[in-house]
């Protein structure tokens, strides 16, 4: 299930396809926000437009403020790694082979991390190095490296997804559980803390330990009330309680897009396939 990821409630509200890799969504989201800002400026007023034009003229002389050359450098390494790894897998080679270019690029990105601690570019390099190790089937090496990433580092914001991917690939949730447990207690960024906590619940749930999953989700509901995470945790608690095979499906009655009334109760005696989907 390469590329699959946990879809958070935040994404659910935005109705995002679960097949899209989470880190790409984050990037797109940032860009989306930027675009909205720019559009708002454009239509704000004529003055705003003129102001923007002035800025754009200036931008030709100076690089825009948002451009971090270090970020570009790291992104270039990542795209090169992606390209080489694409060619490698196309040639029919197995991910675990020692000449997998992902290994070379993981080492390069990790070296970058060591040389440039605590920068935004370094956080991305860290996450991508770990991800490439997973994609080269080097789970224990990834874990050894991840253990050297301090629990207060910003890299965890994305790196949690890498641990999720590794756990899902191997159907082994132990490392994910221990790491998200630690992060849920000691991460400094509150966003990482709550995300680690809900991921801890998911990890327990996927590993089959619904009792511990319940404890984690309940803690999210209590500690972070009125957040999308609490809402997601509540949904999961409800599912653990009520939506298991062998339990009656929740009843509903709606109208179809053709205007016909439809209800589950009306299909007694028939097998029902419910497909939740979207045209996006």
């Amino acid at each position: 299930m390469a590329g699959a990821c946990f879809v958070t409630n935040l994404m659910r509200r935005r109705r995002v396809n679960s097949n899209v890799a989470c880190h790409e969504i984050n990037l797109q989201h940032t860009w989306g926000k930027m675009k909205r800002k720019i559009i708002a400026q454009l239509f704000g007023s004529l003055l705003g437009l003129m102001f923007l034009l002035t800025l754009m003229t200036r931008a030709q002389n100076k690089p825009p403020k948002l451009d971090d050359p270090e970020l570009d450098r790291v992104q270039a390494m990542i795209s090169q790694a992606k390209k080489e790894s694409g060619q490698f897998s196309k040639s029919g080679s197995k991910a675990s082979e020692p000449n997998n270019p992902n290994l070379k690029w993981a080492a390069t990105l990790w070296e970058y991390r060591n040389k440039h601690p605590d920068t935004p570019a370094s956080a991305i390099a860290t996450t991508e190095a770990l991800r490439l190790l997973v994609r080269a089937d080097r789970i224990s090496e990834m874990q050894t490296k991840a253990d050297t990433v301090k629990l207060d580092e910003a890299a965890w914001k994305r790196a949690i997804y890498v641990l999720v991917e590794a756990a899902a690939n191997k159907k082994d949730y132990n490392y994910l559980i221990s790491k998200t447990q630690a992060l849920s207690q000691t991460a400094v960024d509150p966003e990482i803390k709550v995300f680690a906590h809900i991921t801890l619940g998911d990890a327990y749930w996927k590993s089959g330990d619904t009792a511990q999953a319940r404890v984690a989700f309940q803690a999210v509901v209590t500690k972070y009330p009125k957040t999308p995470y609490a809402e997601e945790a509540e949904g999961n608690l409800m599912e653990i309680e009520l939506l298991n095979p062998g339990q009656p499906a929740p009843q509903f009655a709606r109208t179809t897009i053709k205007g016909d009334p439809i209800s589950l109760a009306g299909f007694k005696g028939r097998v029902v396939v419910l497909k939740f989907w979207g045209t996006y």
Binding site: R15, I262, F267, F276
Partner: protein, 95 residues
């Protein structure tokens, strides 16, 4: 979306054996859904989950997601792949 052709095959195969398909759409607007249903020739009923209440009711986290219910309205399987769907339906019909 990419599963539509396969699902149409399954629908043709099972619709006369007492199997009902219901599509529940998470789309932002109903028009997109109507266009897609028309262009793909999808003939089973479609519900537009305008307020997200069915998403909440079934705790849907992404699409596509399948729930399979037996003849008594009991959950037989959830979050299964389309590949698994066919054999699961066959098993249920044998019961």
């Amino acid at each position: 979306m990419g599963e539509v052709p396969l699902l149409k095959e399954l629908y043709a195969q099972y619709k006369d054996q007492g199997v009902v398909f219901i599509g529940i759409s998470l789309d932002e607007d109903q028009k997109k859904l109507e266009e897609m249903v028309a262009s793909k020739g999808i003939s089973w009923p479609q519900v537009w989950d305008a307020d997200g209440s069915l998403v909440t009711l079934f705790n849907i986290k992404g699409t596509p997601t399948y729930y399979l219910l037996d003849r008594d309205g009991t959950i037989a399987a959830k979050r299964i792949t389309i590949e698994k769907l066919s054999s699961s339906i066959t098993d249920l019909l044998k019961k």
